[in-house]
Symmetry: C2
Subunit: 422 residues, 2 copies
């Protein structure tokens, strides 16, 4: 269970109970399918609605990829890679590709317009056996499709007619270029449900195939999401509603920026995923909380100064996991370093003291703090946390009066770009 503590916001806004009540109506709008963008709320029940047969196919594909490839190249942008990258970082390691392991390296590509970056990835793939996965609803997303042209050529050069057996696609069930091409070339292919948008799709094959290739137990991920779903939906939104309402109450009180603070480097991409989820869902109609992230404790020595003493237009959400390491800071060190007060302590104690000390300092400095306690890092909590944020985002978006399921602003730069190149 994901637990939210809003006691660190007391005194910072006086509209919290009113917004909390409005959250009930927002949840009802979401669940009854009567709100804007209701055609894209398939994610709400997906953790119990997915097809077992699709899951079985994902596992078979992952086994095949693991057995015949040293490198798995995942092409996709935005919601087509952030969730899987977050899972690999959190559940395997942020240094996953550096590990000695019996699963393939995974490179996420096709998410920029940099030929230099693509060339760097190609050099890393180099003489090793590789497979490619393309994730795109349409297949014509410029960054992803252009990278696919490059890797498709490489595959053909390396494997000839066998290249097709190393291409995997995740796309719309029926329409779009990538579906048509998958049928034409006989590529193994999975479905992005039409009623689930990119940033809500990590619990579908979009996230599950890369996770499975990385050796993550995707059944446990889904089980965690399902348990969280049942708990939240049977409790009127539970703590997801509490979080959604509090962030909107703070926004209405002039807190324009939300900083998600993680105290563990493995959470960096969880924050990146969270930023996309909330920014793309809520940043429209000239409103929206600005989502930023802090990777602690590194960033206590960066934006920490501004959080403590800067303009009071922000609030902080602390994403907390229980430190699992038993590593001890040596107490018998011959070093004279002025940290004898820390020697002999476990890192878990150190980390908890940093978190508590930071929270107290920030609140005293005028920053409302929300705690999200996610327990111990594992597959189930990853699934639970993911579902928790998805539901919070749906509620929060309706609370703020926008359609949380479209992204009209993302089209603007594409139109200009096409016009320039035409």
């Amino acid at each position: 269970m994901i637990k939210v503590d809003v006691s660190g916001t007391y005194g910072f806004c006086n509209n919290a109970s009113a917004v909390r009540q409005a959250a009930d109506a927002a949840l009802h709008t979401l669940l009854s399918g009567t709100g804007a963008g209701a055609a894209f709320t398939g994610w709400v029940r997906y953790p119990e609605n997915y097809a077992e047969s699709e899951l079985a196919r994902i596992k078979i594909a992952a086994d095949k990829i693991q057995s015949e490839s040293e490198v798995f190249v995942v092409l996709g942008i935005g919601g087509s890679y952030l969730g899987a990258k977050a899972a690999v970082d959190m559940l395997r390691s942020p240094e996953y590709n550096l590990l000695s392991k019996n699963t393939p390296d995974i490179y996420f590509s096709g998410n920029d317009a940099s030929g230099a970056q693509l060339a760097r990835i190609i050099r890393l793939v180099d003489a090793r056996d590789f497979s490619v996965c393309v994730i795109s609803k349409s297949g014509s997303t410029a960054e992803t499709a252009s990278a696919f042209r490059v890797f498709s050529k490489l595959l053909t050069k390396r494997y000839g007619k066998q290249a097709d057996s190393r291409i995997y696609t995740i796309t719309d069930a029926e329409t779009g270029y990538l579906r048509a091409a998958s049928i034409l070339h006989g590529w193994e292919s999975f479905i992005i449900p039409r009623d689930i948008g990119g940033r809500y799709s990590v619990l579908t094959p979009v996230g599950l195939l890369p996770m499975a290739v990385a050796g993550i137990d995707i059944e446990k991920v889904l089980a965690g999401a399902r348990t969280e779903m049942e708990s939240l939906l049977s409790d009127n939104g539970g703590d997801a509603s509490v979080y959604a309402a509090m962030r909107q109450a703070l926004y209405q009180s002039g807190k324009k920026i939300e900083i998600l603070s993680g105290f563990e480097p493995a959470l960096r991409y969880t924050a990146e995923w969270w930023k996309q989820l909330f920014a793309e869902s809520e940043g429209k109609d000239k409103k929206g909380i600005f989502p930023a992230s802090a990777n602690m404790t590194a960033d206590l020595h960066s934006i920490g100064q501004l959080i403590q003493d800067g303009e009071r237009n922000l609030f902080e959400t602390m994403l907390l996991f229980r430190e699992q390491s038993n590593l001890v800071i040596p107490g018998d060190s011959p070093l004279v370093d002025g940290i004898d007060w820390l020697g002999g302590k476990r890192y878990a104690e150190f980390c908890n003291a940093v978190i508590a000390g930071t929270k107290k300092a920030h609140i005293a400095g005028g920053v409302p703090v929300i705690d999200i306690d996610a327990g111990t890092i594992n597959e189930e909590t990853y699934g639970a946390l993911t579902y928790f944020f998805l539901l919070s985002c749906g509620i929060s978006g309706y609370l703020s009066g926008v359609n949380p399921f479209n992204q009209p602003g993302v089209e603007e730069y594409k139109r200009n770009m096409k016009a320039i190149l035409a």
Copy 2:
């Protein structure tokens, strides 16, 4: 030369020329050493004031580390690692540790309170030969000193009495635990000049030693910084003043958030370094622009929606380098993917079109855009860009009426943490 173009801000504020004039006074305050924190402005002339003998010692140490170590562990937090990490990413590769190369892997550690992360790094060092560098003015920074206790023990276990020859320190010339310990144990040691604070220190041994170990030509880095320094200081601050003044003018006009957009994944840590520089320098006295970063084009599919259509309380600074790759998007691809308009184009054209298209879209959406054109990525431009931002930050801080060279808020969490653990 770093070139700034503020034409994308026209019409968004009417105080620009007044603030531009005030920037002259701010620069004078900085250069005359009459402002708050003047004791920490040694970085202004450092690119011509550094000692050649120190540079020679850095190169000798780097050669020794390269010859006897497969891994170089750099312990430091905040300004003690961000600049070097930015340089390695930009000038070698963001996947530097994955490359086949004749220079050591570099792990930046001692910048968090995570035992899990430390354990992951230790596993990566494992059976390989390694050296350790500790960067800290005092030596008693909790995150860094605790990690040093752990690695010092590992070194002794592995190398016995030879361990001391694999320890390098960068610290204050005279005072502090780390200087005392360096003398006691005979560690090779370099100086952080007393008149240069952590976040302004990347062009000193703090950044130069890790860069040299990574195979970066540090004389070229310093030459680039020196050329930029001479150019800016002989031109009344030049474009550094233009940038500093424009960001403050926009801030005064209600633009509370600055997003630094880079269109190349190798710039991710340049943005992290920039965030620390500006947030810690300006985020105080209940004011300060909130510095955020966007890694394009990935983040066009993340916070891009909010930049385009969200609350109009932000401006964007585009950090532009000329794309160097000659990679072409295959035009003869057998794939039917709807991007024939892009086939046959070089990535450089694609990237430029994305930048131009994005800029046009964001300005049309109500976002002022500043361009910083840094030319081609190389050692000289890294040095030039670094100096450009340092000088901009000093001017900008004085313009906003704060002391840009202290960080009183960073102490708060430490005090609480110590009290909790005591």
